[in-house]
Symmetry: C4
Amino acid sequence: MTRLLGAGALAAGIMWCASSVGPAAAQTSPTSGGPVDAAIIEDLVAAGRILADQGVLDAFGHVSIRHPANPNRYLLSRNLAPALVTAEDIIEYDLDSNPVNANGRSGFLERFIHGEIYKARPDVKAAVHSHSPAVIPFGISQMPMRATYHMAGFLVAGVPVFEIRNAGGMTNMPGNMLVRNGALGKALAETLGDKPVALMRGHGNVVVGPNVQIAVYRAVYTEINARLQTIAIAMGGPLNFLEKEEGEHIDQAIQSQIARPWALWKQKVMGSK
Amino acid sequence: MTRLLGAGALAAGIMWCASSVGPAAAQTSPTSGGPVDAAIIEDLVAAGRILADQGVLDAFGHVSIRHPANPNRYLLSRNLAPALVTAEDIIEYDLDSNPVNANGRSGFLERFIHGEIYKARPDVKAAVHSHSPAVIPFGISQMPMRATYHMAGFLVAGVPVFEIRNAGGMTNMPGNMLVRNGALGKALAETLGDKPVALMRGHGNVVVGPNVQIAVYRAVYTEINARLQTIAIAMGGPLNFLEKEEGEHIDQAIQSQIARPWALWKQKVMGSK
Amino acid sequence: MTRLLGAGALAAGIMWCASSVGPAAAQTSPTSGGPVDAAIIEDLVAAGRILADQGVLDAFGHVSIRHPANPNRYLLSRNLAPALVTAEDIIEYDLDSNPVNANGRSGFLERFIHGEIYKARPDVKAAVHSHSPAVIPFGISQMPMRATYHMAGFLVAGVPVFEIRNAGGMTNMPGNMLVRNGALGKALAETLGDKPVALMRGHGNVVVGPNVQIAVYRAVYTEINARLQTIAIAMGGPLNFLEKEEGEHIDQAIQSQIARPWALWKQKVMGSK
Amino acid sequence: MTRLLGAGALAAGIMWCASSVGPAAAQTSPTSGGPVDAAIIEDLVAAGRILADQGVLDAFGHVSIRHPANPNRYLLSRNLAPALVTAEDIIEYDLDSNPVNANGRSGFLERFIHGEIYKARPDVKAAVHSHSPAVIPFGISQMPMRATYHMAGFLVAGVPVFEIRNAGGMTNMPGNMLVRNGALGKALAETLGDKPVALMRGHGNVVVGPNVQIAVYRAVYTEINARLQTIAIAMGGPLNFLEKEEGEHIDQAIQSQIARPWALWKQKVMGSK
């Protein structure tokens, strides 16, 4: 059932967000970073369901965490809608996005987004890739995203826009908008730089954080901020966005209070436990 | 209970989206294309419920599939809100939209939309007619729909607008906006051409696909794209829509990945099975 | 518990949408139009719940029907949020909005909206008063409501706006926006004229129909049309609204098909029966 | 577990909306205003859940009531998302926002909003602080909030905007947007003046009322009014907002009818009781 992910399959142009990721023989798999506590996996599963429940993810998009014991591994579900993921669907990858334990399960073609960001950003422990709807218009217009209120203070760092038409010159597939290999993932990570959020033109965005709760929080409030900024733009006149100092301060503050929204959101999607 | 659908009944102007479709005598019914697998019918039933759940269909509108064994037949529910349809409500039609097995059940007056598209487009295996709300404004303005993001890449083919005022010259009912006969269905199919989507001015749209999953997917993302393009327009300035090559590429890619959204959407409306 | 609704109580300015409506002595009550079939009452109860479920009514607003046996009586719930109403909460009124059978139950102060419309419009058998949110902006701007699509074809009749500041000259309570007596109800009915919908500036709207299903349908699609027209306006450029002939034709057609949305909406709020 | 809330902890800049509020020794706690009826606590708990259910509160924000027996005490939940609060989570505070009975439970850092408003406004018996989304754009633009319809008549009093950049001059933490001490709470109360609502630039708003039902009502309709005013602005042209006299009259009227929405909203979040 497993098969090698070859250049030919990619060039066929019919691969999109998933591909069988298991190598042909077990001995070529990267070594595992070790067992991961069930509570950590549960939070990763919850993260995807929360993002679906909050309208950030639809059937597509994905959330990952860096392996807690080995910074050169990360954890990401197999090719499945986030709302349907359970602990059994989590696959471990190395930072080149080779699976450790695919066991025939197919993975996301765009997993390179995660691997390359973990390479470039040692501070990042969790990443979200979504097609967060209200954010899309900012990616195709000249309007930069700004921090409309303190809940999105992290946006004062600036929100760069990734244009795959430029980065895509590295491949032989003009017109393919997917981050389907390490080179494109690296280009995206370079656009992200040291920021928490980068938009992807005509596609979606990536959001990162020092843990999965904060990455989820930022993905949710990137979406809400987009809605509110859109409304504010329609009002016209000068708009009074957060100053850099204000955003940096409140981002720190929120990191200390993340348990509050997490408790609410997790209970909603995982039940009363 | 059954009665002939005569020109007189149409001219009375009180017929809209439903009419009794059973011919007076059984021997005048077209022959059946043969039995259809229950799983295929289940997906057709699910399609209507998914489109209602996703806000594309309200109590009106309908989704059909071409008969899997006979390309000259199609399957469509009786006159009922899509969210309430079960397998027992599916009727088989020939491409002139005569029922094979109405058994006194009334059908949609606008079923000619489906029959005429199946005639004109051998590649089409499923069709959706909806009043998808966010799309309506594009049908009455001069603003063409464009592909705002890769999820709606299929829109790069262009989105024509059907004006029944022009086509309506073929009938004796000026002001009647319904696609209530074969001639109007044919005119709509001509406007659609080889595209996946056509708008109907002041009415709704039609979406087609090579199978029911892809037709449903396209109907959902036509609605979402309309919302996002509307927001982008309000931002002003030049907007960076998908290039033709990008849209064509990603449309192919999504066709290979359709199982992912279908699994999520179907579970939501059909339960855990 | 019951008390007379005197001018003094009104002048106190603390009455709004409800007041105790029972006359002091039973012998002053109007005579009843006779018993009403339980299925008709059930549909009236369902109407309020449907309008709440569809976002037309919040905790306020009300829906009434003309008495099926006596055109000089109408039926309206006691002072209660429509989503909470049951058959036991329905009160019968004469067209001056005196209760037949209040039995100490308080009624809506604005019931005069219903009574005066039934007086002025023999064709009307059901009426809805709501604060339907998307419609409010049309009532306070210079922008007339237009029929954006065929589902709201009934709007081609024109949508007048009631300005109580003009009609309020009849009272001693300047600034009171409520239709709290027969004179104001009559003025509103005059603004409505022979139309299906009238807006009330800074307040809401009234919608009428030849039966409760059509009145509910029109109230729902007045709200949706307002949303879609608002979006279309934001697109700019000439907009292609329905022609009068188109709207009149489709309104007739929908009246013949009202069972379809009613079945869906009623099942959603009243359960599987 | 309890610790003193010192200036050092604040200056560390990692405190946001919560802090451990228990004083080190029991003898320094303020005295209690006395036991509070369980029905009153239940309504306070319901208030938070209603505001979450109505989209005014997310995981953040809070609602308080003045102590019914002692005007120098108020009641507010511990640091928890409002939708998760139960009666056991309510803490009593004096008007300097020192807890009477924290017992190690941490409180909201921004509780000073409540304490200082209760000091400045003897008429206020309940207060809501939220990040009510549709209101945010008004706080960062030059567009004043106006009463769009009678449901928000209370807004005719005018809606001032609090700019913490000015008030923050009182502290040593430039860029900190939180109302984290009595001086900032006092400055906010001064901006509020005798009004029912004040916006907080880039942050949210405060809403007050003579009881918890009316404060909740006003918070809900401040949010809805913001949505409707935004739509009306987009229509352009002169807009016909409520006159002062109209708003004052209807605000009085609604205060007499508050049981109607409260019954609906409370049943929805607290069950059938």
